[in-house]
């Protein structure tokens, strides 16, 4: 590939273009590094974005963004300083998990025993769908067309009269 590039003269004929491009890229990388090092303006909303995903490690089921204790104030301050230091949201979350354990996140990580929690909905849905199917198969054997007293139609067709007659007879016993 590189040899082909040589053959087609990218390095030779268009050498000046390539130099320009490389220069630009170097500049971009440097700029990004400088930006990562200078403290960014971190807003309370940035902090809350992360704090709302973390549970206070010492309180009763409260997320850090709304927890009123002094300890939570300090943890919010820790989030601020890490954001200012250029940490990503995920890195900060991981930091809290390392410090206080996986219980600080409201969505347990998909590992080990936690899979049990994630299996409940799909397995439950499948099991119930199967149960429903079996009931329907067993119980819909004979398709009896019953006169329907509570049938409703948006076109106001025949069953409505029966419905009305029923209402008037006040026949709503269970």
């Amino acid at each position: 590939m590189i040899r082909r590039a040589f053959r087609h003269g990218i390095w030779s004929h268009q050498g000046s273009h390539f130099g320009l491009l490389a220069g630009w890229m170097l500049l971009l990388v440097l700029a990004a590094r400088v930006q990562a090092q200078t403290p960014q303006a971190v807003t309370d909303d940035d902090i809350n974005r992360i704090a709302s995903q973390l549970y206070c490690p010492v309180c009763q089921n409260v997320t850090l963004d709304v927890c009123p204790t002094l300890a939570c104030d300090n943890w919010r301050a820790a989030i601020r300083s890490k954001l200012e230091a250029g940490w990503s949201d995920q890195a900060i979350q991981d930091y809290f998990v390392t410090q206080f354990g996986a219980r600080v996140i409201g969505t347990p990580p998909k590992t080990g025993l936690n899979w049990l929690l994630y299996a409940v909905a799909p397995v439950g849905a499948l099991g119930l769908a199967l149960a429903g199917f079996l009931v329907l198969r067993k119980k819909t054997g004979s398709q009896v067309e019953t006169k329907d007293s509570t049938e409703v139609s948006l076109n106001g067709s025949e069953p409505w009269r029966e419905q009305l007659a029923r209402d008037i007879r006040k026949d709503d016993s269970i």
Partner: protein, 572 residues
Amino acid sequence: MLSGAVALGVNQAWKKETQFTPWVILTGMITLAFFLLIVAFVENPFSRIWATLDGKVFRSMVQPVGTFLIYPPNGVGLNPLLRHPGMIVHPPMLYAGFAGFVIPFSFAVASLVTGRNDSDWLRISRPWALGAWTFLTIGLVLGSRWAYDVLGWGGYWGWDPVEVAALIPWLTGTAFIHSLIVQSKRQLFKRWNFVLIILTFCMVVFGIFLTRSGVLDSVHAFSQSNIGPMFFVFISLTFIASLALLLWRWKLLVSDGQMGSLFSKESAFLFNNLLFILLFLICLAGVLFPLVSEVFTGTKMTVGASWYKQTTGPVFGGLLLLMGVVPLTAWGSTSAGKLGKRLWLPVSISLVVPVLTAFLSGLNWGGIVALWLITLAALVTLFDIGNAVVHRMKAQKEGFFIALGRVFVRNHHRYGGYLVHLGVVMIALGVVGVEFYQTQTQQTLAKGEALQLDSFKLTFTDLFQYQTTDGRAVTQAVMQISRDGRLLATINPRSDYFDLYRQSVTAPGRMSTLAEDLYVVLVDWQPTTTSAVTFHVYHNPLINWFWIGAVVMVLGALLAIGLPDRRKVESS
């Protein structure tokens, strides 16, 4: 409360079903005895504090030998977080709901023991189950309102374990009040109804245990006690005994009825029950998982709102869809073609709302689908009611209001139920507003400065502090809300510091309209200069439909219960 419910239940059995009476008395009394045992010997609210001369302290109702009574100095009063009007009614409502479900359970046990194959136990249980369900609903909604007013996180439901513990019997109870309709109308689901009431009763006891024992980390954990083992034994015994009874009568309880077709009303009820049971399984797993993980890994995992929202969201969507379809189905057989014919018009009209929403506020897919389901359910239910009214007006030559009133009164089960559904739809509207369209910001402002959230401008104009006679140090801000230069409201977000408790309680400032709430929490301020104040502002679209929906739901449930029919009582 429980003894009152049992007394009323027994009285009813006495009048209507003498064969059931001894068994209803026995089941009610065993349940009552269990709770009295706990109150008398484990968690006695009347116990006093006694001390020996060598300084040992005991709690007991009667005086232990060689002790003297200690009078503690004046208490600190009720936890400040609980000083909310809703809290006066919230616990009794939940417990009235819990107590109410004991009666249908007792009748179910009575029916099983006496070996009856009919639906009499359900006929007597229906108003009880609906009443208990209504109380439970009121209790849950008041708890939500308390959280919204006091906890200061801009939401009404945090999927906290104690909240979920109260929701679980509500879910199985809702499944039960639907499935019993199918047995009454079609002689189906006979065994299933027993399963559901047994489950609901056990979940009631389980819910009380979770709330009162303090085994779960919860913002609602205001008590801790040693009632765990006793509850565990009681729940296990009840569950095993009632299941054994059911298995004993299993063969007898053959459902004679047939399901019409996949698209019939009874199938809709079947799907309804499957979805409620799926929700029940999800909630039970979410509540129990922290305890399971603690046993196996030593870490009590947190199962937070995000997990619940991801897993329950689609199931609630399914319920809304069913609610939209069910008025168009019929008992017996409804063919796909027939149902399709009835559905196309409301489906087409209902699509207007999601399309408009997408156009106005972008492609928020979750919100768009939810709004479509809500519109469909509302439209079909309203069509149904409207149709009945119009037909009555024509056939009986009645005025609109008379016809409307009579439609609701004459067929109060059906239209009470549909009113409940309209309430559910409104609640769903509030939920969608907050879950999919909520915006928020937290900013620190100096006096005179303003922040912008969506189209609202909130200007911080003043902050003052004062001491109240009931021991609160109040810090109160003044904020003006305007839009397009027009002043809409002035609100006062507050923070009350309770000296005795060393605890702050937020009182958010709110501007409420049918379209939205602007909910402002006073987060922090400079103690001496009070010049810079931090506010957390939430814009909660449609939230007030949640509260309105709750009221409609309760009114619908009351209508569905109806007044006792004099003629029926006299003839019986």
